[in-house]
Symmetry: C2
Subunit: 253 residues, 2 copies
DNA sequence: TACGCGGATTTTGGATACAATATTTGTGCG
DNA sequence: CGCACAAATATTGTATCCAAAATCCGCGTA
């Protein structure tokens, strides 16, 4: 099966692969800075998405050549893509053995959420006193988009919005390095959340909590806000771990 | 100038490059698992060390070919090494522009230490109740090695020991992912600490604090231990930032 | 039948060659 | 003299080819 190499503008988007050879026809008229992502990045983005949405399962070993053929490129950019994903922790590269999709133990999955609590609470606490009307405005917008997309059932989109929302909440903290660290951790978290998103959504009072986060932040009540955030993530962790335990038990039989 | 490609066993060590072609002469008799590091890893380790010890300065742009020639390899493994260092945050890779040694702003340097506090304290707090005599024993050993190497003036060695010591303190927490995150952050931290190690050493009551950490941990006094740890890192941050401010001011003139 | 050993196959790793992209230099025109 | 544009150069990115390593498979032997 061949994955088409699409040609498309994507100043922000991350989900298509573009072939530089076919690019000469374009005349760029917009002023918007267009950062062409490199082939390895494009491939990495696509593989990443395939891991996050579960198409590439935990533990699966990835063949460079297979992917290269799918994307119609040589193994070289695929290798670089895998190297990047390895750095992100989504795949594990072993010396002459190639790549396997990372499979975390249940303990490690728990650890991922503990890390989220640790880092997100720190960011939130730093952000709240620094939040200005524009920041709050931005959060409000994303929150509304999230609320209206609840039923849309587009798992990937919801995951992205969720991440954007949390990012917006922490933006005022102005901590780029911490955000990078968090981003990588969230990639892992997302992966397991998405597995069970449909189940988790209906039970979770997540929507209400999301709004509470913003309201407490707006009121400058840092302690209360951080409390909600901690509980929010801890609850997600708890629900998710239960589901994962069942899933792993099923797989073993 | 050519960097020799050394042949040497290094089950743990990270600082030499070995050429697999010359390896057949060896007969491995020890049972110890010997993981041969790949060429890119070996190169990455060497470049990493050169960045950490300041030989490759902040902001310097790195030419693949230049390194390839030094190490007597093609550009390919060098590229992979750079890709890894990019993931670690020690260099920044830009699309068709190559790699530059990461230069952090003073704010970011501060952030690095805040991250250390956040994560190390979390680890320490989790570790203390779980520490057993073997754990304490191991810490004791490393601590003594550190104390006796204080005057040795081997900056690289001291840095490694310091990291080992902190790792040993947190080992009982059994948090591999958190440790990975911390490791990456420590790479950055080390870089700036090493720049001023000779200056910082003489003034710091670090030795005393290091021992206190262990004693409080041994006594199970988590709060006190974490307090010392926080102050220890915060003090390092403060001292270091002052030195960095001067350094940056000098560079601008 | 179980186990070990050696060759065949598959898969990854690295070098070289070539293509695409960025930078620099030089030249002509205003 | 300065600026814009274009050729030349330097540098990175990708493909192809060969080498090294791992895995698989079958054979022989205990």
């Amino acid at each position: 099966m061949e994955r088409g190499i699409l040609l498309e503008f994507q100043p922000e988007g991350d989900n298509c692969i573009q072939n530089s050879k076919q690019n000469e026809n374009f005349k760029v008229s917009s002023k918007r800075a267009i950062v062409r992502q490199s082939l390895p990045d494009a491939i990495a983005s696509d593989i990443r998405e395939r891991i996050l949405n579960g198409e590439l399962e935990e533990g699966l070993t990835i063949r460079q050549e297979a992917l290269a053929e799918e994307y119609n490129v040589s193994r070289m950019p695929v290798r670089e893509a895998l190297k990047r994903l390895d750095a992100e922790g989504l795949v594990q590269l072993t010396n002459n053995l190639g790549a396997t999709v990372t499979k975390h133990s249940l303990d490690e999955i728990g650890e991922i959420f503990d890390l989220r609590i640790l880092i997100e609470v720190d960011l939130f606490r730093r952000a709240i006193p620094a939040m200005t009307p524009p920041h709050l405005q931005k959060c409000e917008e994303i929150l509304e988009a999230m609320e209206s997309s609840y039923d849309a059932d587009d798992v990937g989109k919801w995951g992205a919005l969720n991440y954007d929302y949390h990012s917006a909440l922490y933006a005022a903290a102005n901590r780029s390095l911490t955000n990078d660290v968090l981003h990588r951790i969230n990639l892992q978290s997302d992966r397991y959340v998405r597995m069970h998103l449909s189940v988790m959504q209906q039970r979770d009072p997540a929507a209400k909590e999301h709004r509470e986060l913003l309201e407490f932040a707006r009121a400058g009540k840092a302690d209360e806000a951080c409390d909600v955030l901690t509980r929010h993530i801890a609850q997600t962790k708890k629900n998710l771990l239960r589901l994962m335990i069942d899933k792993r038990a099923d797989e073993d039989s």
